[in-house]
Symmetry: C2
């Protein structure tokens, strides 16, 4: 992963994962592969699991353990109301930053 991308993901990766969870429950391994499909090819597995632990402890998601046919049991994460609220705030924060940056880029500048 480029150093720039690593730093830029700080703060946004959590939002990305919350966004992936809206309307669709998912488990860690699945989220990792989803991220890779979306272009984040170099996201470390450990990063995702650590993030999931974090958002669970923050109470943003509900967790349910389900057996898998192909390996150890899965931990399936579902966005709860508090997580939805956090996601809304995330979009607000990101919109602000995004608008500032587009402004700067336009100014050519």
């Amino acid at each position: 992963m480029g150093k720039q991308m690593t730093e830029m993901l700080k703060g946004t990766l959590e939002g990305i994962v919350l966004a992936l969870l809206t309307g669709k429950a998912a488990y860690g391994y699945e989220i990792t592969t989803l991220l890779r499909e979306q272009g984040f090819t170099e996201i470390a597995e450990g990063t995702v699991y650590a993030l999931l632990v974090r958002i669970e402890q923050k109470g943003l998601v509900d967790v349910e353990k389900r057996p898998s046919e192909k390996g150890p049991p899965r931990k399936v994460y579902t966005l709860n109301p508090q997580g939805q609220k956090e996601l809304n705030e995330f979009w607000n924060t990101w919109s602000f930053l995004s608008e500032r940056l587009e402004q700067l880029r336009k100014e050519g500048n």
Copy 2:
């Protein structure tokens, strides 16, 4: 500063400052007030100075000390070719992230 914003600024603040410096040299105190005018009202002064030290050590800017009529001498920063290159990479990285996020937001999702 909101915690979300603090985390999201990691990686982007450097790009923002480099962008502010394109075509226009500036000194630390000036950059801090510029950022505040652009809406980053809660950026800590220490953060900006630490960042300037960093980009100077990375060789992205040239520095010149100039006397001030109103206080201690100013350290005026100018973007050099390497800084311009870094800024270009920053825009690439940011574009990628931005497109991914807009995609996610659109998906509603």
